[in-house]
Symmetry: C2
Subunit: 339 residues, 2 copies
């Protein structure tokens, strides 16, 4: 088969790779129905995160179980499954506490931008869709459960979004947009999205944003304070991962309010004394997608949510390089790839 490999900044190649096979008895091999490019793939693509030689890419996936190892019990060949970007045994103390993305056996997935994928710890990582094969139209939305929706959902959960609350979402990438959708599902009354891109503003409104703020940095914080009678937001979702976006999130939160941060921090330093006097709650990290998968799959299959709308570009998998370029140049919010 062919698969996606990053050779250096801007250098994505779709090249011959070994077709994956079962290695451990707990593995499954999937034939993917769809995969995609993640905002976090852009950090190394842009040279902002070092890579250690040619690196196979991709960690969002859904598709058909092709083969399972001898120890796999909960999924079987032919089933349609969605899995987390982080593998988990789903039995250790961290998994049972709801933090499967800190599983003692966690591996971060790679190699998913390919037609076939080996998934370790299949029983604890994959969730089959109930009712058999979903319609092809639902595949993009099911794919989002694997990371981008699960991560937006965790941001809202970590930010303690409650019915009636006021929420700010920092970041208008796919995670931020699905953070808006998640906050809406959790009953937020007011959802303020920070964006200066028309197409993203439009999608944010479609997903439930009630207000758009086009300012950035301190000006955005001042604007949000104005909009909330000087109080600040109950919940702020940080979906970028830069120093500026984190400070914006902390600044927009009311004393005693909550920041949920899911943008992988790059160069972020928090001053302890400054944070202390904000009275903010802070929680985040790699989203425990496995915890949310059954619920999110259910919401998709029942047509309650349509998170697949974040894909505004669909390409055949062999055009993956163009998929990266379009996202890098912000021509696309998120690229879906079809093997």
């Amino acid at each position: 088969m062919k698969g996606t490999v990053l050779y250096g900044p801007g250098d994505i190649r779709f090249e011959d790779r070994e077709t994956p096979k079962i290695i451990e008895p707990t593995d499954a091999v999937l034939r993917l129905a769809a995969t995609c490019v993640c905002g976090s793939d852009l950090w190394p693509y842009r040279g902002l995160q070092p890579i250690d030689g040619p690196t196979p890419m991709g960690h969002e996936y859904c598709g058909f179980v092709e083969e399972v190892g001898s120890a796999v019990k909960s999924v079987k060949p032919g089933q349609f499954v969605v899995g987390s970007f982080a593998t988990s045994d789903n039995t250790c103390a961290h998994c049972r506490y709801g933090y499967q993305s800190s599983c003692i056996h966690r591996e971060f997935m790679l190699r998913a931008q390919a037609p076939f994928l080996r998934v370790p710890l299949a029983d604890g990582t994959l969730v089959p869709t109930p009712g058999g094969m979903p319609s092809d139209g639902l595949v993009p939305s099911l794919l989002t459960c694997s990371d981008v929706l699960g991560t937006g959902w965790f941001a809202a959960d970590a930010a303690n979004v409650k019915p009636g609350g006021t929420v700010v979402v920092v970041g208008d990438g796919a995670v931020g947009l699905l953070g808006v959708l998640s906050a809406k599902q959790m009953g937020a009354e007011r959802i303020i999205a920070i964006s200066r891109h028309e197409a993203r503003q439009k999608l944010a409104r479609e997903f439930g944003a009630t207000d758009i703020v086009a300012e950035r940095g301190d000006e955005a914080v001042a604007r949000i304070k104005d909009m909330t009678k000087g109080i600040g937001a109950d919940s702020v979702l940080e979906c970028v991962g830069t120093q500026e976006s984190m400070m914006q999130a902390v600044g927009a939160t009311r004393p005693g309010g909550y920041v949920g941060y899911v943008g992988v921090p790059h160069g972020v330093e928090l001053n302890g004394e400054q944070l202390f006097f904000t009275h903010d709650h802070l929680h985040g990290g790699p989203a425990p997608v496995r915890r949310y998968l059954p619920k999110l799959i259910d919401l998709v299959l029942n047509g309650v949510i349509n998170p697949g709308k974040v894909f505004d570009l669909t390409l055949p998998l062999d055009q993956v390089a163009e998929g990266y370029r379009a996202m890098d140049e912000r021509r696309a919010i998120k690229t879906l790839l079809r093997p």
Copy 2:
């Protein structure tokens, strides 16, 4: 009257000051029954926090209402009251959200190491003891509600201490020791106190500690991991405020667990990426003592808790300089001062 003034590192003077009087109609003037020296007073006393000229000291207090301004409604002369170290109107949005120590009218108290004290925003800051004058033996415990107990309680609350949980307390000062007491009250099953001082270990056990760890830094973290089957603690109370203590707290917490931090951070920097992968919840700040005062006063008056035991040195107020010295040299855990 005479009052306490810090002139520079190690230079505490008890000298003539103007006797406080009502300035704003919302003020009260108290005749103090007791005051004390706070761990946070030691930062400027040790020259680790700059002062801007001679600085009147003291922010923990309880005593009798001597006089009230014309707008004061909820306290009256002759009542015995306890107040927070942070004033609050107790009506603004932040107060109603439970964060009175971020009140829009907040002032941090000063000048309480004196026989008389003016308290602004008396209605929102002071709580009278029900049932009139408490017995003199309860005064030390009532005094702790003003800050040190309220702060230990907030640390436990911010660290989400729950019945049956495993708790670590970093810091064996008076706040840490009362953090142990608070965690016990909240139903923690296991309370691990970090201390290498015999007297403090003993008091920690008396307050409810089930285990003592004498190691520090990374060794303490390794020891706690050992004691918790490699998992870490559900809740960690950070009651010091240094980089080392904060890293110890973060390191001892299980993924998805909670750090409550109340030691005023001095030079603490948190690396965003490192924090991200811990999955810790982080919450802290100046304790919203006013929120807890009615409950804490009730626990003291009913003899459920005896937090006054943290005072292992009692001096007449005019010997305040010795009170600072004894705490600085760790000869005393906490000094009670009687006017």
